[in-house]
C-alpha cells in the first residue's frame, strides 16, 4: 500500500490508547472534524480490544495495525495471530458475544459497521483474525 503506516504492539490494553493517537495523528493532514476522529478512534478501540481479549484471550501476542489513505479513503487493518473466529456471520450480529461474563456488550462489530463504510473480517480458527475497516473521509470528499 502507498504511504502506509505499520505498527506492531503487544496485546496489552494499555496500548489501546497508542492505537487511538496513531490513527488520530495519521488522519490529521486530511483535516478531520472532531466527530470523524472520535468515530474512527472508537472503532480502533473496539477492534484492538477484540484482538487482545478475544484473539489472544489476554495471553501475550502481537497486534498489528496498518493505516493508509488512498483517494480519500482511510483503510485501517487490525490483525492478530490469536485463536480466530469460527462463524464470522454470527459474531457480526448485534449483541452476540462469546464472553458475556466480561460485561462486553457484543456491539463491537455492530459499531464498526455503523461508523465505517466497510467492515470486513477474515479469520482462520487457530491462526488469527484480520479486520479491515474503510471510511471515506468527509473533508476529502468535499474537496476541502
Amino acid at each position: 500500500m502507498k504511504n502506509e503506516v505499520v505498527v506492531q504492539f503487544p496485546s496489552l490494553s494499555e496500548y489501546e490508547s497508542l492505537a487511538r493517537v496513531i490513527v488520530s495523528s495519521f488522519m490529521l493532514p486530511y483535516d478531520p472534524t472532531f466527530d470523524e476522529l472520535s468515530d474512527v478512534k472508537t472503532v480502533v478501540s473496539e477492534a484492538v480490544t477484540n484482538a487482545i481479549i478475544h484473539g489472544y484471550e489476554y495471553q501475550p501476542g502481537i497486534v498489528e495495525l496498518r493505516l493508509a489513505i488512498v483517494a480519500g479513503i482511510l483503510t485501517i487493518v487490525i490483525k492478530d495471530n490469536g485463536q480466530g473466529i469460527d462463524n464470522i456471520e454470527q459474531v457480526k450480529e448485534p449483541l452476540f458475544t462469546t464472553k458475556p461474563e466480561c460485561e462486553r456488550s457484543g456491539m463491537g462489530f455492530t459499531i464498526m459497521e455503523q461508523f465505517m463504510d466497510r467492515c470486513h473480517i477474515e479469520s482462520t480458527p487457530g491462526k488469527g483474525t484480520v479486520v479491515t475497516l474503510e471510511k471515506m473521509l468527509v473533508s476529502v470528499a468535499m474537496g476541502v
Partner: protein
C-alpha cells in the same frame, strides 16, 4: 498556554497529565462554543488555530482525559 507551559517548565517536575487535562478542558469549551455559533463541528486544525495550540497537543490531551488515572485526578482535585 505558552505562559502556563513556561511556568510549568520552571517547576520541572510538573506532570504532563495535568497540562494535558487543562488543554482538554479548553478544547471542550471552544468546541461547544463553535458548535453553538456555527452549528458545525470544528476540525482539529480550526480548534488548534483558535486556541493557539498544536494539533499534536489536542490529540494528546483528548486521549489523556480518557485515562482512568485522569478521571481519578479530576474527581479528587
Amino acid at each position: 498556554i505558552g505562559e502556563i507551559q513556561r511556568f510549568l517548565r520552571d517547576d520541572g517536575v510538573i506532570k504532563v497529565s495535568r497540562t494535558l487535562k487543562e488543554i482538554a478542558v479548553k478544547v471542550h469549551h471552544q468546541r461547544e462554543r463553535i458548535m453553538k455559533s456555527t452549528g458545525k463541528v470544528p476540525s482539529i486544525h480550526e480548534l488548534a488555530v483558535q486556541l493557539d495550540l498544536t494539533t499534536e497537543q489536542i490529540i494528546e490531551a483528548e486521549e489523556a482525559v480518557r485515562r482512568p488515572q485522569s478521571i481519578y485526578e479530576s474527581i479528587y482535585e
